[in-house]
Amino acid sequence: MSDETLQQSINALITGTITEAEHRSLQNRLSEDATARATFRERMDIEAGLRTWAADSGAYRQVLASDSASKKSLRTDWGWRITLMATAASILATALWWTQRPDRDQLSLVDQPNKTSPQQTPPAAPSLGQWIAQADCVWQQPPSLPNGTFNAGMIKLTSGAAELRFDSGTNVVLEGPCELLVDTADSARLLAGKVYVHVTEVSNGFLLETPEAQIIDEGTQYAVALDSLATEVHVFDGSVIWTPNTADANFEDRIATGEARRYLRSQPSRANHIPFGQRQFVRRIDEQVREAASGALLAYDGFENLAGQLRRDRSGFGWSGGWESAGFGRGPLAEVIDAPHGTVFGKDRSGRRLLSLQGGESLRRQFEKPIELSPGETIFVSLLISRQVPEVQSSGEQSTGDSDDDEQSAAIQIVLEPDSVSPRFTRRHSVSFGVRSDQRLFLNNAGTIAETATSLAVGEPHLFVFMYKAEANTTTANLRVYRANELVDETQPSVWTVYGPASSGPTKFSSIRLSLGTRAAAQIDELRVSDSWNAAVDLTN
């Protein structure tokens, strides 16, 4: 067991999501390794300290809430102690230090499905996570809890797609018709239909059962289709182990990335190799966008992958691969999150997703083939940008001020990169637009810069439309930015927000880059590269 695995196992133990196998492995490691035990003790000191600190803080807040009118002097860390001392009729008051807390039975980080206590009536089944569904979903039996949460029980989806986001860190997309019996925070049984399972990096595993087998993940994105005859398993990333519930205990089939198997339900111990990805598992909103644009869109990303990290996303079209870090980091890329409910530029965004970029993040995606402009041709790049308060600022932290590019650190840039293998050439001849740190809108046509003073309200979506036109010997660029309450021009406008002077920019682009300064944060959606104004601004889908 590696140190990383040790940490993951300890996490799983704390969150109550550890599997029996992991538990055995952890026990063996701790029994044999004094260093591992020291690591465990250190971690548990922090966990215990945080719990007692939070409990103290909670009691403290209760004292303040109940006595704020008459006992202002209790604003000390020990206020709760004085209150306890004064009100304790017996020593049980001390023993009830924990039990007096209103949240006694609702510990957040641990699910307690097996907890038994003869003195207590069983609590209502706890929420196991949150669900979202596409607007046109038809349910036979929807998740049973209100407010978009679900607990253990049967879910039957007749049509459409819905996603269950388990608190244990696993996301399961159901594609109707589908029947799924949710057992616990980290297990479920597929009874019919198709699911796409994404065991995220924060999860400690997920057990999916079919009537004939168990599917155990190993850090995975996979999909399962179950019908009356057979079960198919397709693994997109990582691997899974297929273990049939038959008497043949020796059979175990490991399915790796890019592989797919088919098991007859009458013979779950016999694997049939089938072409990977032959079956379509998640309905693609992208297709609707492509059809609506009638071929005018060269590339598009609405970040509408219902389950998946950005790096592995297959969202959008017109690209040669997924998003990649344009910086030095090799960790997970920016997150894809739910779009806020509401209407943006006349279109309902509820149930959609968008890209959340944090300070310093820089992403690049290659076009499927380089976009080349002949004289007289124009391309448009449009996207929705909503400035956000960066996490560090919202947390009250101060900038260290030691950044190399402090002046640029709140900038948001969208960069069209020329088709070149030379980083130096690419840097010098890129075409970009966006928002500077001082909130001025800018465009940069291969070194020729134009700016306009403005201010973009934080949290408000703006539609950016960038136009780039090639002439015989020059290129021109303009930028139009629409505020949320503005009507978007139906045809190419004659008035732009930023006018760029003619320059000699490139006419062949291979990729686009989204870059944020270290103190910027933004939500980005509906990225379109097109050869027509209409396709650039159409937010129909």
Binding site: E42, D45, I46, L50, W53, M85, W97, L109, V202, I337
Partner: protein, 183 residues
Amino acid sequence: MTNQNVQRDADDDTAAFMALLMEHRHRLYAFIAKQLVNPADVEDVFQKTSIVLWKKMQDFDAQGSFFHWACGIAFNEVRNFLTVQRRSRLHFDVELVELMAREAAEEESLSVSRLDALRLCLRELSERQQLILQQCYAGSESITEVAQQLGRERTALYKQLARLREKLLACIRLRIAQEGSAS
């Protein structure tokens, strides 16, 4: 001795016991947590241990270490708990629990240093970060609910919690190292 005096003595005993328990409660909780991990189990055993400690207070040698005496009783309660609850949740073998209890008791001063350092390190966090930790660890809301209240993605909150723990761990180690070099 009058009834009033008897009552006063009882009150004094209660106050003395509560003072000791209050002083050692964080360490005792951490000691139990290292054997049981699951917060609900830890709280159950902490509660039972507190009651047993009170009942057996007359056995406590005031010249000795309250913490070590309490650890002995807490360990018995852990063992009793494991005997009854073993089937309801995954727990470590008794041998490992005993080993961890022994090492945890031996490591008392380091554990105290960590807990003290943790409180100081928590003060270095922003109010918002402290609020996040309070909401997640006090347990009045689920992670999903906390994420909703904060307007955050659940996964992002998990990540932030992990980052905050790492930050606290680094701070704790630094403080303990500084203490060590200063002493």
